[in-house]
């Protein structure tokens, strides 16, 4: 069994007629990065709101937030994706369902993956935000209330500025997971990096080069995310507070 290595395969024209083989990987990377980044920013918003709701005094607001987080954290991502892609359009009013099915397939897949990843990641981020808020000493909240601040103001100007700094390091791993989780998109046909890798390995008959290249690309993405989060952590640090950690 002889395997003939050819690292120049990325610069050869693809059998699909869509330019070079290397472009396939780059197009895949573009999908991976765009779906991951957009859903990450939306997920941060959800995580912030839901995480705060889980800690407010009113039980009627805490409960729905807790149920949301529990359901989205405790089902497999792939099952959630299938629910969004195969189940939700059937359960919506017929006209809406038809509108979704008649969409441009790529747009449809992109939006489905986006919704799915956003809610899944948002639930995870909410847990981090909640534990960050809980790690702020209770005396801070009491002091804020004693100063006459309402619930909203005490969150905005006392609790959250401290809690959000605490959650930056643990959020790094969630940020990394978005990029990795976006690979499930290939199961509904969105050709992100892993999907393109598989296609490239079949079309070009150079599977090792394709898989090694995409592994290196994922590692590079991981490295960039870690550097970015370190930078944010460093920039947002209050001198003298949490500085030693």
């Amino acid at each position: 069994m002889q395997y003939s290595w050819d690292w120049l395969v990325f610069f050869k024209p693809s059998v699909t007629g869509e330019g070079l083989y290397g472009w396939m990987l780059l197009r895949g990377l573009a999908w991976t990065v765009s779906v991951s980044l957009v859903s990450w920013f939306l997920a941060l918003g959800i995580g912030l709101v839901v995480g705060v709701l889980r800690t407010v005094p009113r039980r009627s607001m805490r409960m729905p937030a807790a149920v949301f987080v529990h359901c989205f954290r405790n089902t497999p991502l792939l099952v959630q994706l299938f629910l969004w892609y195969f189940v939700v359009p059937e359960l919506l009013p017929v006209a809406w369902g038809d509108a979704i099915k008649q969409m441009n397939p790529t747009t449809n897949q992109f939006l489905t993956v986006l919704a799915c990843l956003t809610l899944y990641t948002g639930a995870k981020a909410a847990e981090q935000v909640r534990s960050g808020i809980e790690s702020v000493p209770a005396s801070q909240r009491q002091a804020a209330l004693a100063l006459g601040l309402g619930t909203l103001d005490s969150y905005r100007s006392v609790i959250l500025p401290q809690a959000l700094r605490i959650v930056i390091p643990p959020l790094t791993s969630d940020f990394l997971n978005v990029f990795k989780n976006s690979a499930v998109a290939l199961t509904i046909g969105l050709m992100e990096l892993t999907g393109q890798t598989r296609q490239l390995s079949e079309f070009s008959a150079h599977p090792f080069e394709a898989f090694i290249a995409s592994t290196l690309i994922y590692m590079a993405v991981t490295y960039c995310v870690i550097r970015t989060m370190r930078l944010i952590e460093h920039r947002s640090r209050v001198p003298g507070l949490l500085g030693a950690a």
């Binding site: 069994m1 395997y3 405790n74 959630q80 299938f82 009013p93 890798t197 898989f211």
Partner: protein
Amino acid sequence: MGYDFDWSSIARAAPYLMQGMGMTAFLVAVAMSIGVALGTLLAIARLFGPRWLAALSAGYVNLFRSIPLILTILWVYFLMPVVLRSVTGDPYLTVGPIYAAVSAFVLAESAYYCEIIRAGIGSVRSGQMAAGLSLGMTRWQALQSIVLPQAFRNMTPSLINQTIALLKDTSLVYVISLSDFLGAAGKIGQRDGRVVEMYIFVALVYLALCSAGVALVDRLQQRRMSRTA
């Protein structure tokens, strides 16, 4: 809401769904037991090994933690046969989806478990190791009879959490068409035209299983809190 629900195909397909659940349970059990064992070795290598071994272990863990699990599964499924063929010289060797899935999960999960176990060993105070050494134990003896038992007790909740994550991750074998619980349900749903009911049912079953795991972790943590308090 123009959809007519019909849940009867779930009951009819129960034996096949149970087979799928068996495959899921098998994957979880094997990946967990070998993953924890290998993860422990990797963590020990990284903490106490010579520098080259520690670096090797760190590289392994970082590699598998930075690529998607689906990519790992595809690596093993498509490329392991090629490697094995050239190693063994048998041009007709095949691996099959079950062995591929098991190997992929063992490779990736041992990296995930390693990080937990490393943190667990780190949570045991360094005086414990020193005390063991001063009693005349070798490093290895102190590790296995003093440090590791305490470490494993500390990290049981995290290990269970990781196993819940593993249960959810096993559904990814869908990409190599292995019939685990999700795969089996998907096939039945497609055959009967009842995809909607099937996927809702699957989601509820996974939710129930994971909730049981989460409840177990909560109980363990409460017990520990009351013991230390």
